[in-house]
Amino acid sequence: MNHMILQVVSKIMIPFIQVFGIYVVLFGHLSPGGGFAGGTILGVSLIFYRMVYGKAETRLKFPFELMMKMMCGALILYGVLKGYSFLTGGNHSYLPQLPLGTPGNILSGGYLLPLNVLVGITVTVTIYFLFTLFYEGEI
């Protein structure tokens, strides 16, 4: 789909989609939304890019290895963060936790913000992988 119109429109639209996705991820602990919804929006922007520019160019920008590393890294970090929280909570040991902050601020809610970001990364990559696997049979 190498149309001029699509390319021009996508150049304008993709940044807006991504900014909106990042907004939904970052404000997940204050308003409806969160990692899953925001990650889906971000993933859709990648899918849009792939549909307009084709396989070869997208692979240059978002290579499979990088995406895989991001997803696995996000999952491992999620496990470590949440595991730390679980273990300290379960053992009743009062080790330092992430600060709760003032409700309503963006930097608040303890673990929710970093976990939302990690879920967002994972979902972004997963949605993109799913689409490419269905669409072309390979990533």
Binding site: S31, P32, F36, L130, L133, F134, G137
Partner: protein, 120 residues
């Protein structure tokens, strides 16, 4: 009978569940089976969320002032069903991927035709 009309959410959910169940079991086409699976899951979500709904109360999102626990519906079923939706999405994706693979190998997605073709 009257109770069925009072609890119309639950009645609807159970009917929908039956529709999905029948679609899943009776249809030969794999895509239709997956659609039936999704209808079934959606029916369960509806049932669960109807259990958490209390008439006249708000969604559990604090806007400006906190109204206390009496002001909001039960948020637990909604939170659980969010998890359930994610699970259903991943299972649907996996089933569709397998269906595509199956179509590559057998050339059809009708289950009875596939069952007739014995492997190697």
């Amino acid at each position: 009978m009257e109770r069925l009309f009072i609890n119309y959410f639950e009645t609807g959910a159970i009917i929908l569940f039956g529709v999905g169940f029948a679609t899943l079991l009776l249809h030969n086409n794999l895509i239709k089976k997956i659609i039936g699976m999704n209808i079934m899951d959606t029916a369960i979500f509806l049932f669960f969320i109807a259990k958490g709904y209390i008439p006249g109360r708000e969604a559990p999102i604090i806007q400006d002032v906190h109204k206390g626990a009496a002001g909001y519906i039960n948020p637990v079923p909604s939170a659980l069903m969010l998890t359930g939706i994610v699970v259903a999405v991943s299972i649907t994706a996996f089933a569709l991927a397998l269906t595509i693979k199956l179509h590559e190998k057998y050339g059809t997605i009708e289950l009875d035709q596939i069952m007739e073709m014995r492997g190697d």
